[in-house]
């Protein structure tokens, strides 16, 4: 079963990486985790959206579908 790492973007969402836990190499997994960590350091929030779990997470999980949300800020209001 494939898992993915996506982030919200001007195009709706961008697929950063896709992998199968059974066949992915440890090196590739480390690469994906590095990308994940870099975006988290930039203020992104991560959510595990596997099977509609929809929980925020702080660490990379190779067995989950992860969605990265850019930093948010208060809007203009009324």
């Amino acid at each position: 079963m494939k898992h993915s790492l996506r982030k919200l973007s001007p195009r709706g969402d961008d697929l950063i990486a896709e992998w199968e836990p059974d066949t992915v190499t440890p090196e590739r997994l480390q690469e994906i985790q590095r990308e994940f960590d870099q975006l988290m350091q930039r203020g992104y929030l991560a959510a595990d959206v596997t099977d509609q779990r929809n929980v925020l997470v702080n660490e990379f999980d190779p067995n989950a579908d992860l969605l990265l949300i850019p930093r948010m800020a208060g809007g203009a209001g009324r």
Binding site: P10, G75, G77
Partner: protein
């Protein structure tokens, strides 16, 4: 041009103004599909019917997340405020709605720290309704006057 290289992708709640097949439309539809994929079935059905997401948070407050704004209701479904939150990258409205949903579902306190929240008082609500009623009466008078004039000619 945006920092990420995207060009000319306006993001707002009015995709009908963009031609089908345009970058905006593609992004809009993609964001909507992702939202539908992430939402649990009851929430997704509500969204497909109303184009809004309704979530009851841990505090008991209900949030109606719409493409243009989010309304906050208390435990008795009375409007107590409006929230405005945005992503720091340009993105379709549905992405912002998804972000709000995930944040409210998991960390409502953080949502209140980040969002710009305007609280409502009954007095303000009364004033705005009174103003709306007066405006409605004036416009109604104009329409009736026009119909009468039209009937005479």
């Amino acid at each position: 041009m945006a920092r990420d290289g995207s060009v000319g992708i306006p993001c707002g709640p009015f995709p009908i103004l963009a031609p089908p097949g345009s970058d905006y439309h593609v992004a809009y539809e993609r964001a909507r599909a992702l939202l539908c994929q992430v939402l649990p079935d009851p929430d997704r059905r509500y969204f497909e019917r109303t184009n809004q997401i309704r979530i009851r948070a841990a505090s008991g407050k209900t949030y109606d997340i719409a493409p243009w704004q989010t309304q906050i209701l208390d435990a008795r479904s009375r409007l107590i405020g409006r929230a405005c939150l945005q992503l720091t990258v340009p993105a379709p409205s549905y992405d912002r709605m998804l972000a709000e949903y995930l944040l409210l579902r998991n960390d409502e306190a953080r949502y209140w720290r980040i969002a710009n929240i305007t609280r409502f008082s009954l007095l303000e609500e009364y004033r705005s309704r009174k103003c709306a009623i007066w405006l409605g009466m004036i416009l109604g008078g104009i329409v009736i006057g026009f119909i009468q004039w039209w009937g005479m000619h």
